[in-house]
């Protein structure tokens, strides 16, 4: 059974909406993209390929996602910047009552007075479910290729 064109379009719009919410600075929307239970991780390809469990960022409950959201929005100290996600090469497979989605990402970071640089590039490995009619992430694992993060990752990717 293949994914219908309509289903694919809905997932694509969901992923674009997620990226746009972050790029537009609407961080308070970020937790709403996740279901319960959920898992959000940013993992280096280096650790992933070696089977090492360390994540750069790990949230394994909706509460941890909300705590991280508060930290990014209010607690951490960082300079003004703009982020721009580029996502593409979406690949979908059905898996029981969920859909597995893989897509590529690049994030451009622009700091005041500096050249725009690439913050990181990598792949999203997602598990999507439907809850009360709406798509949610059950899992979003962001595997980044970048071997040297330019300073810090100060928002969710």
């Amino acid at each position: 059974m293949s994914i219908s064109a309509r289903q694919r379009q809905e997932i694509e719009e969901f992923l674009i909406d997620y990226a746009a919410a972050i790029d537009d600075g609407l961080l308070d929307r970020w937790p709403d993209f996740f279901g319960d239970p959920c898992l959000y991780k940013i993992v280096s390809k280096e650790n992933f390929d070696s089977g090492l469990p360390l994540a750069l960022l790990l949230c394994d409950s909706p509460g941890m996602i909300r705590d991280r959201c508060d930290a990014f929005a209010e607690l951490n100290v960082y300079g003004p910047r703009a982020w721009r996600h580029m996502i593409g090469q979406l690949r979908l497979t059905e898996d029981g009552d969920s859909v597995r989605a893989r897509s590529n990402f690049v994030i451009f970071e622009s700091l005041s007075g500096e050249d725009t640089h690439i913050l990181c590039a990598g792949e999203y490995c997602d598990v999507l479910v439907r809850r009360d009619g709406a798509l949610k992430f059950r899992e979003r694992i962001c595997i980044y290729d970048t071997t040297m993060i330019p300073n810090s990752i100060v928002m969710p990717i």
């Binding site: 070696s50 090492l52 960022l57 790990l58 930290a71 993060i149 330019p150 810090s152």
Partner: protein, 407 residues
């Protein structure tokens, strides 16, 4: 830069800004510090557990291979084929039987001995190496290595004393508190590049009171705060420091009242982040060590990590984090360490602030090499302290630094 600007200000409570920007001073640091009689941290045993496992690392600007040999020992070599200078290893880690340079296939064993050269005896009676060429004399340039309880250090100097003498009292004791002989379990790596002078990273750890002001997370949950019971201890050189502290309560007192970043009402939605357990002897809940010249050894609650500082010119450095636990950890403890790792690293709830503030410091310093910083909090002495409302570890550090650098 005019010599006038390279003068150190009078007294030990001022730090001149040219030491963070000056290219000549940086070259001198590479020679006198990183190539000098110091033990640079290069990795953990658990990164290269088996024969032939190697990692590529750095001492100063020198690329180094650290490899486990057939006898279980650890060897370190300069990552450069002695033939024409090609870097032997391009990968950060791997497993090999031998090292072969791809250019002309000179091949070395795991101790760096030259095993063979193609066409050494010529082809069809022509060419080849001269008869008096002795392969035994042309191994890789080896580097002195010493390990202790799972940590591996290397030095480019013959004059470096053994590691135990080098760490000295009380740092060796704090080192052994973490590296207590139990086998380590590798949890993973993080790497970041920060646009600041490498010494600013060491300063950041030695500067205890910033944590009470900059880091909301530390402050609010009492993980590291000036009103906690704390100690700042240094070795006689002042270059190594151990900061230890006992976690305080989320309460309003004469310390927290002065911290704008204290949030008395804040609660975590998921308190498992700070579900900490005591696992080391003594009451301290955090011990942060700076081991000269390139290691920060971190125990904050149950998150353990080494941070290797890799200088990249006067105005940038890389920070290579290695998180670890112990082979004896159960699944709950490993999960706890991995959750608490959220505090640290390039997206750390606490460390984000440090990476950002170091770059901002460099930006402020860059156009002002003739100006100087103030490190006067807590007085002008360089003695161990039983509190952290002091910049004593910075004063002691720069006293040691000046001696090493001849400044």
């Amino acid at each position: 830069m005019a010599d006038r600007q390279r003068q150190w200000p009078a007294g030990n409570d001022r730090v001149p800004y040219w030491i963070y920007t000056d290219q000549d001073n940086y070259q001198r640091e590479l020679e006198r510090i990183f190539q000098g009689p110091t033990w640079s941290y290069v990795g953990l045993d658990c990164e290269i557990p088996n024969s032939g496992d190697y990692k590529r690392t750095t001492i100063g600007d020198q690329s180094i291979i650290v490899v486990r040999d057939e006898h279980g020992g650890v060897n370190a070599m300069i990552n450069r084929c002695v033939h024409r200078g090609v870097q032997l290893c391009q990968q950060d880690k791997g497993t090999v039987d031998e090292f072969m340079c791809p250019y002309h296939q000179w091949t070395y064993d795991l101790a760096g001995n030259l095993l063979g050269i193609p066409f050494q005896r010529g082809v069809k009676g022509k060419g080849g190496m001269p008869g008096n060429f002795v392969p035994e004399d042309h191994g890789l340039e080896t580097v002195r290595v010493q390990g202790r309880n799972g940590g591996i250090f290397a030095t480019l100097s013959d004059g470096t004393p053994d590691l135990e003498t080098y760490l000295g009292d009380p740092i060796l004791g704090y080192y052994d508190r973490i590296f207590d002989g139990r086998a380590l379990r590798l949890l993973g790596h993080s790497r970041q590049r920060i646009g600041g002078n490498w010494k600013l990273m060491l300063e950041n750890i030695k500067d205890t009171h910033h944590a009470s002001l900059l880091h909301v997370f530390f402050v609010t949950f009492g993980l590291f705060r000036v009103d906690n019971d704390s100690r700042i201890e240094m070795d006689p050189s002042g270059l190594h420091t151990a900061l230890s502290s006992i976690r305080g309560k989320q309460e309003l007192n004469d310390g927290t009242a002065q911290m704008k970043s204290f949030h008395g009402e804040m609660e975590l939605n998921d308190p498992r982040l700070l579900d900490t357990v005591r696992e080391f002897p003594g009451d301290q809940t955090v011990v942060m060590q700076t081991i000269w010249p390139n290691l920060i050894l971190q125990q904050q609650s149950n998150t353990l990590a080494t941070r290797q500082i890799v200088p990249k010119g006067p105005e940038a450095f890389e920070l290579h984090w290695t998180f670890f636990g112990y082979e004896t950890d159960d699944d709950d403890m490993t999960a706890r360490r991995l959750r608490q790792a959220n505090l640290m690293g390039p997206a750390g709830l606490v460390s984000i602030d440090d990476g950002q503030i170091i770059e901002r410091t460099q930006n402020g310093i860059r156009p002002n090499p003739g100006a100087e910083g103030i490190v006067e909090l807590g007085g002008r002495d360089t003695d161990n302290a039983d509190h952290m409302v002091t910049e004593v570890a910075l004063r002691a550090f720069y006293q040691g630094y000046r001696k090493v650098m001849g400044l």
